[in-house]
């Protein structure tokens, strides 16, 4: 099968770029990690790709607010390139810090504030894909996605979450306990086109069964892999 060309966009302090690249490889893509600076110098790197990830981490050390500085690189630096990439039908996903970046760029609705408990939190969560969502990354997923969160600013805020859900833009909700105080348990949202997904949890850290904390007791299993999200994105990009 043809491997879909994908780029993982990083900034100084991005640190889950390698994990995202592994997930993309396992999902059938051919990923390369590209810094925002390189992207500004070589815009063709984006033009050649059929799928893009803004990876997690602490770009610019969260200086002045999570994601703010990298968002500037991707807007002022890159102009409309990312918007055009999405408009051309290429799926884009922002994970954790990447989600924070994409809300700051205006590509995704809402904002992410400090966790309600006031501290960074790392633990495994279960995510319910929302059946009515228009998101191409979660479409058709009917089992919960299991993967870890690792963030301090993941409390999702939006002025009208009901309207967002009615519009099919709520892609994932936390099942059971809400780990950060997000409105309406929202873990992931997409843009109006369904091409852009932003989520706080890390599906890229559950791409093989052994990574699941309950794997040794028969927990987890392939239906709950975070890899499914990447496979969806890659399949969509391949078909597009």
């Amino acid at each position: 099968m043809i491997r879909v060309k994908a780029i993982v966009i990083s900034g100084p302090g991005t640190n889950r770029d390698g994990d995202a690249a592994l997930a993309l490889r396992l999902a059938g893509a051919d990923p390369s990690i590209v810094s925002a600076t390189q992207l500004v110098e070589h815009p063709d790197l984006l033009h050649d790709a059929r799928l893009a990830v803004v990876a997690g981490g602490f770009s610019y050390g969260d200086a002045l607010g999570a994601g703010r500085m990298l968002a500037l690189d991707l807007t002022v630096g890159l102009g409309d390139a990312l918007r055009e990439f999405v408009a051309a039908g290429h799926p884009l996903i922002g994970i954790c810090n990447g989600f924070q970046v994409l809300t700051r760029t205006g590509l995704l609705p809402g904002a992410l504030g400090h966790n309600a408990q006031g501290r960074f939190e790392c633990r495994w969560v279960e995510l319910d894909p929302q059946p009515g969502s228009r998101c191409v990354w979660t479409m058709g997923l009917d089992e919960a996605v299991h993967c870890p969160i690792a963030h301090g600013e993941g409390r999702y805020v939006h002025p009208d979450v009901d309207a967002l859900a009615a519009d099919g833009q709520v892609a994932l909700r936390y099942r059971g306990s809400n780990p950060n105080g997000s409105m309406a348990d929202i873990a992931g949202v997409c843009d109006a086109s369904g091409m852009v997904l932003g989520l706080m949890p890390h599906p890229e850290n559950h791409v093989v069964a052994r990574q699941h904390p309950h794997h040794r007791r028969g927990g987890g299993g392939s239906v709950h892999l975070g890899l499914r999200v990447f496979e969806n994105g890659v399949d969509y990009a391949r078909a597009a």
């Binding site: 302090g13 500085m69 500037l72 809402g110 309600a116 495994w124 690792a150 850290n205 990574q211």
Partner: protein, 933 residues
């Protein structure tokens, strides 16, 4: 800074930082404000020819309208405003300058700060106390009640010349005074050797030379005590401790050891084609005065050690020792911070660095004891991997001296000598310049530059204690170097030459580069946004020469610098521990004692801390620090395994200062045993285990303290040889003492942290402590004896007058661990847990918690119930085996194993002679302290 513009940014929703602040105030017993009255705001100061549109652009960039409100008007409500002291790195201000440039807004100067409003119910005196104790740290920050003006002038002027310090004519007393005035922390004998050297040279030293010698000869850098010839109080001469440790590793002669006790980290190879670098460090003194920065840079430093061994860091460990968090504020000695403040700062500091640099913080421990109140201990470890390749061969004459990474400022001056001295009430105020602030993003970029660039340099080391003086000085040993300080990239002007040379500014590495490869390295640095400076040449003439503004400010023979220190002879009074066997304890109510043990801070859940660390990044954490059906039970060892790989690495920790108080030799032996047991229990091969030793001790000039250290080193070595597990690296932190206002000296208890790193042949057959299924049988491996000195039973019930012995070595343990490994590898073990603090009862309780199952224990290992349940006899494990596998298990173990009972579905821990306890009650006890720990 002139009055420019200031933006005050507040949260629309209640700011979680405000609530955290109120909680911290209340915990200290200070009058806490109403959370609804508390406002926390971020401050941004900018200056420049800024138009209304410029300010609007900055506002739109900095303020998220869904989350925040921003105003350019200075608030009128009373509040305290905090900014960094001049010279402390303000990363957000640098980011703001970068952003402003991108936005086309002409900002000339930027600074950031915080504002806290405590509400009108808090009177000014209380507010001042709260700010000092909870909100701000005078070591790095300044504050004002009302609007603050940031101070952007680092101060200090220098014309770039060195000062000559006349020493040749001085009397011994005058010489010692120079040592005190310059905080050289050198012995009188050492000062005399320095004096003689310059008499021979026919000139006086410069300040740069004196400071360089002091750093190089400091306890921190040269490990004088570990290299000293020792004489016992009975007159016997003993080899230096470092020699003893090295001989131990040589004796074991493990085939997998590549490099031990050389360079920045130990290197081993468990699998062909791959090597592993291991290192653990302490950062105790800095963490005592600035907990966040101290722990933060401790983690950063140990990561650079692994990077300095040319390995890619993959995981972090931390062991933290604090005073009791509930000690009344009035009982905290002068100049010391409250343990709560230290704990909060240290854990934040570890989390901030590890989480941001993108490494999982996977293994560790948190210990509490009143002795750690004035001397908190922070141990940080790092593991790295690399493709198997020859060690770098340089530096060669002609190679360039190249520094990479962060800029140099006045941060961390004299850290090596600071950490080599004891502390007192004034330490906080004089240590300001020794405190460093970490920048994990810069270090992440350094990793990105250096991993994969191994062909571009011939030698590498990190800039740690002593800064460039130590890094370049060590690399130049036997080669010589000639460097120009004017070429060092600075954070700000005005630094004296000696300050540039000694600054411990973080996130810097020094590499030796063949001139033909410099261009390639430079391009690589440019692509990653890392600063590179070519400072000079490795010369080949064995002299270390440093220039500033055209003058030579240092010119030393590298032989004198590294080998000129007079060897120390030190006296050790060896301990005479009570090793009386059979001194038991009386426990009237084992049920409530077990619950009290589970709730004891040292045993209770550390979940709140663990969840603040990212232990998932890189996707390789196969066994996590928390395990079980609810992921809330403690693991013995953790396992790292590449998502696509077959084998893995297990990491385990052994530490027990309470045994150390009574019998340092046996303590050392048992903590080595415990670290190994922890990783064997999870699936590591006991024939492929490497060890790190980290000693945190009191002042070794006290013969009894040194004697304890000698005994502990001996205990370590005996255990290592018995288990066939070599030490590959170690570090000692001595002088962990505090002199109180009463003149009394308070030393830490003998604290030895052993880190064991072993090979897991198959990461898919790891075993964890949670009970698996009702009906399975439970076995106890190892012998149980009344060994209670230093036990947690004594911490809970109070120690009797006659203590008896601490747990003693079990000669059968090495064979037991090998047999257990075979049983695990054969799939015969359903769960397995090491028996340690709190004894068998606590181990069983933790297994029940992990599986949310019960256990019916019908046979006990000792007739005396206190011994059976609460003795901490070493080398024991509880193992769960399915009925069908029992015969084979017994056969593989090849020693008598005690059938304790079986796993039950009813959730009750039922022990013969003890009223049953339901697992929910066990969980409640285990989590009680954990909620705040």
């Amino acid at each position: 800074m002139a009055a420019g513009h200031r933006l005050t940014i507040t949260s629309i929703d209640p700011d979680p930082r405000g609530r955290a602040l109120v909680a911290a105030i209340a915990q200290l017993g200070l009058p806490a404000p109403d959370p609804d009255d508390v406002v926390v705001a971020d401050l941004v100061f900018v200056d420049g020819p800024l138009s209304r549109d410029d300010l609007a652009a900055l506002h739109d960039f900095l303020v998220d309208p869904l989350l925040q409100r921003g105003t350019w008007t200075t608030p009128e409500a009373p509040g305290v405003e905090i900014t960094y002291l001049a010279g402390v790195t303000d990363g957000s201000a640098a980011a703001l300058m970068h952003a402003a440039a991108q936005l086309g807004v002409p900002v000339k100067i930027a600074a950031t700060g915080r504002r806290v409003e405590l509400g009108r119910a808090i009177d000014p005196a209380t507010a001042d106390d709260i700010v000092r104790r909870v909100v701000a740290n005078p070591i790095i920050e300044r504050w004002a009640f009302g609007p603050i003006e940031p101070d952007l002038t680092p101060g200090g002027r220098s014309d770039g010349t060195a000062t000559v310090v006349p020493v040749r004519e001085l009397s011994r007393t005058e010489l010692e005074q120079v040592g005190v005035d310059r905080a050289l922390a050198l012995d009188p004998d050492e000062l005399l050797v320095v004096q003689r050297h310059f008499v021979d040279e026919g000139r006086d030293p410069t300040d740069v030379e004196l400071e360089t010698i002091a750093q190089t000869w400091s306890e921190h850098c040269s490990h004088k005590t570990f290299r000293a010839t020792l004489v016992t109080d009975t007159g016997d001469e003993r080899p230096p401790l470092l020699t003893v440790l090295r001989r131990c590793t040589d004796t074991i002669a493990a085939p997998f050891v590549r490099s031990a006790f050389v360079g920045n980290a130990g290197i081993v190879s468990y699998r062909s084609g791959t090597t592993i670098a291991l290192k653990a460090e302490t950062h105790n003194h800095p963490s005592a005065v600035e907990p966040f920065g101290g722990a933060n840079t401790g983690v950063g430093g140990v990561i650079r050690d692994v990077l300095g061994a040319a390995h890619r860091p993959i995981a972090i460990t931390d062991v933290l020792c604090f005073g009791p968090p509930d000690i009344p504020l009035a009982d905290v000695p002068d100049g010391a911070l409250h343990p709560l403040r230290i704990r909060e700062g240290v854990i934040d500091g570890v989390a901030d660095y590890g989480n941001k640099i993108g490494l999982p913080t996977v293994a560790g421990a948190v210990l509490y004891d009143p002795a750690f109140t004035t001397n908190p201990l922070v141990f940080a470890g790092c593991i790295g991997v690399a493709d198997d390749r020859p060690a770098p061969s340089g530096p060669h004459p002609g190679d360039r001296v190249v520094v990479l990474g962060g800029r140099t400022g006045r941060d961390g001056i004299r850290g090596a000598t600071f950490s080599s001295a004891t502390m007192d009430a004034t330490t906080g105020s004089v240590a300001g310049a020794s405190v460093q602030i970490g920048d994990p993003v810069t270090e992440k970029l350094l990793i990105d530059v250096l991993v994969g660039a191994e062909d571009l340099y011939t030698a590498i080391t990190d800039c740690g204690a002593g800064g460039l003086s130590s890094a370049v000085g060590e690399m130049a040993d036997g080669v010589g170097a000639d460097v120009e300080l004017d070429l060092v990239p600075l954070k700000y002007a005005g630094l004296e030459p000696w300050e540039i040379w000694l600054s411990e500014a973080q996130e810097r590495m020094v590499v030796a580069v063949d001139p033909s490869r410099l261009g390639e390295l430079r391009e690589r640095c440019r692509a990653h946004g890392v600063e590179l400076a070519d400072l000079g040449t490795f010369t080949g003439d064995r002299r270390l020469v440093v220039r500033s503004h055209g003058d030579v400010v240092l010119d030393l023979d590298t032989g004198f610098l590294h080998d000129g220190r007079p060897p120390r002879r030190m006296t050790a009074k060896l301990p005479a521990p009570d090793r009386t066997v059979g001194v038991g304890r009386t426990v009237d109510d084992p049920r409530s004692v077990l619950l009290a043990l589970l709730a004891h801070r040292n045993i209770a859940s550390k979940a709140t801390t663990i969840h603040r660390y990212d232990h998932e990044i890189l996707g390789a954490t196969a066994v996590r620090p928390l395990v079980g059906v609810r992921s809330d039970a403690p693991a013995d060892g953790v396992v790292l395994a590449d998502p696509g790989g077959h084998d893995g690495l297990a990491i385990g920790i052994g530490v027990n200062p309470w045994y150390g108080l009574h019998d340092p030799w046996a303590m050392a032996y048992t903590v080595v045993d415990e670290a190994i047991r922890n990783i064997v229990a999870v699936g590591a091969d006991p024939d492929r285990v490497s060890l790190l030793d980290n000693f945190s001790w009191g002042d070794p000039r006290r013969p009894s303290t040194l004697g304890d250290l000698v005994a502990a080193v001996d205990g370590c070595c005996t255990a290592a040889i018995d288990h066939g597990a070599p030490f590959v690296s170690g570090k000692d932190s001595l002088n962990n003492e505090y002199t109180g206002a009463d003149g009394e000296r308070h030393a830490v208890p003998p604290t030895l942290v052993i880190t064991a790193v072993g090979h897991v042949p198959d990461a898919d057959v790891c075993v964890t402590p949670e009970l698996a299924a009702a009906g399975n049988l439970l076995f106890l491996l190892g012998a149980t004896k009344p060994e209670f000195a230093g036990s947690h039973l004594d911490l809970v019930l109070g120690a009797p007058a006659k203590l008896g012995s601490v747990p003693r070595p079990d000669p059968l343990a090495p064979v037991r661990y090998r047999n257990l490994h075979r049983a695990i590898h054969a799939g015969l073990v359903r769960s397995c847990h090491d028996v340690s603090e709190g004894g068998l009862a606590v181990a069983l309780a933790e297994m029940c918690i992990g599986g949310r199952l019960g256990a019916d224990v019908t046979a006990l290992p000792h007739a005396d119930i206190a011994t059976a349940l609460f003795s901490e006899s070493a080398s024991r494990l509880v193992v769960e085996v399915a009925p069908a596998d029992v015969d084979q298990f017994r056969e593989v173990m090849a020693e008598p194993v005690l059938h304790l009972g079986h796993v039950t579905a009813d959730g009750n821990l039922s022990i013969a002679g003890v009223e049953a306890i339901h697992v929910d009650e066990l969980v409640a006890a285990f989590d009680r302290v954990g909620m705040s720990a």
